[in-house]
Every structure is written in structure tokens, then in C-alpha cells.
Symmetry: C2
Subunit: 103 residues, 2 copies
DNA sequence: ACTATATTTCTAGAATATTGGAATTATCAT
DNA sequence: ATGATAATTCCAATATTCTAGAAATATAGT
């Protein structure tokens, strides 16, 4: 993962409302949640919610697919995993013992 | 980890410069790096660097310990791990098979 | 075509973050 | 005490983000 890309994703997750959205999506798995489902759970104005959703989509952390009038939001698990890996990449490396965690 | 706390940490990591600082610290392990080491590697004005460092410290992602004239910066690994766990907490739960990844 | 529901886009004011120069504090050596 | 190095705090300009009402778009049913 690119540094800029990782920073952007972290920044998007670093907002109370967006983190709440994202966790609801992660929890709901590949089936996702509709925008109205999210709005019902979060109780915020539609325009505000839409703004945050579009930022999450834009950063590649989630995707949307339309089903009739409803827009489903689904978390991108691979993107999340890549992000976590980027954070932990250099972690737990113990150069003084000559072993590292890289593959 | 508290939701607000997690959001704050993610937000702090969600900035190119701070993420760069943090990765250098993670890479350098428990020995850490001095502020001047960081400045030498990042090539930014001291006041700017200091501002970003103080945000990382304030969010609990790193600590500073003075050694003479030098201030060492050290990443807080447990905080990072907690954060990652918070992100993945509800992940990979597959209710239709009755198994989940929780310990 | 008309209506209702679902969601986004537009807009603008308020709030917050970013940046870096200048001044300041802290520590050590002479 | 003076000087040098290390780092922070203060300040102000600039930029970005957040919020939510109002208007617009999309889809489906009648």
C-alpha cells in the first residue's frame, strides 16, 4: 500500500461518525447495509451521512451497489487488511536477534 | 478501546507526516528516535515537527523520554495493537457458520 | 404522468487543522 | 555566566473539514 493512500484511509477512519459507519459495515459483513439502515442507526441528517459515506467510498474503504431504490454499502475487507498490514509492517522486527517477520 | 479514543488515534495517524513519523518509530523499535533524528529524516521545520509529535503523544500513540538534551520518541506498541484490534473486532465473524474469531 | 421513497449534490457558514518563522525553554560544557 | 545544541511554544495566515437545509436526481409503484 502507498503511503499517501494509507494516510488517507486512516484519516477517513479517524472521524467518530465515519468510524461508526465503518464498524457497522464490518459487522454486517459482505451483505452490507443500506444508507437508510445506517441513517436509522446513527440518527444524523441524510446530507451529512451521504458526505461521510462518499469519503469512505472515495478512499477505497467501502463500495456501494444499488438494489432498486436502495443503495447497499459494503466494507472492503481487503483494503482494511492492507491498511492494518501497512501499520504493522515494520513492527515486531527484532534486528538484534537476526529474525524478522517479513515473508 | 473507547470509540472516541480509537477515532482520535486513527485521525492522528491519518496525516502523511505523522504517519511517516510513526512508521519510523515503529521501525526503530523500543529504542526509539530523537526529535533531531526524525527531523533529519523528514526534512521539515522544527516547529511543524514538534506540533505533529505532540499530537501523537497526546493521542497515546507514542511517548517521549528525555536523555540529556535529547528527547527520545518511542512508539507505544500496545496502543497500536489495541487500535488494530478495535478495527478488526467485528471482522471475519461468520454468523451463518456459528464460528467467530474472538478469543 | 404522478407520487412516494431513497439518496445525492449544492451551498455556505462555522469549526478545526496545518504550516513555519520568531521567541522561548531546557540541558550541557567551558 | 556564556555559548551551543535540542526542542517547544506562540502566533497568524492559509487551507481543509464538518454540518445540515434546500434543491435535485434516481427508482419503483399506480
Amino acid at each position: 500500500m502507498e503511503h499517501q493512500d494509507a494516510a488517507k484511509k486512516l484519516s477517513e477512519l479517524g472521524h467518530t461518525t465515519r468510524l461508526a459507519i465503518y464498524r457497522l459495515l464490518v459487522k454486517s459483513g459482505p451483505e452490507g447495509l443500506s444508507v437508510s439502515d445506517l441513517q436509522a442507526q446513527l440518527d444524523i441528517p441524510g446530507s451529512t451521512l451521504s458526505h461521510h459515506i462518499s469519503r469512505l467510498v472515495n478512499s477505497g474503504l467501502m463500495v456501494q451497489k444499488r438494489q432498486g431504490r436502495v443503495l447497499l454499502c459494503v466494507a472492503c475487507f481487503p483494503a482494511l487488511m492492507d491498511l492494518v498490514n501497512y501499520l504493522l509492517e515494520e513492527c515486531c522486527t527484532t534486528p538484534d536477534q537476526g529474525s524478522n517477520g517479513k515473508s
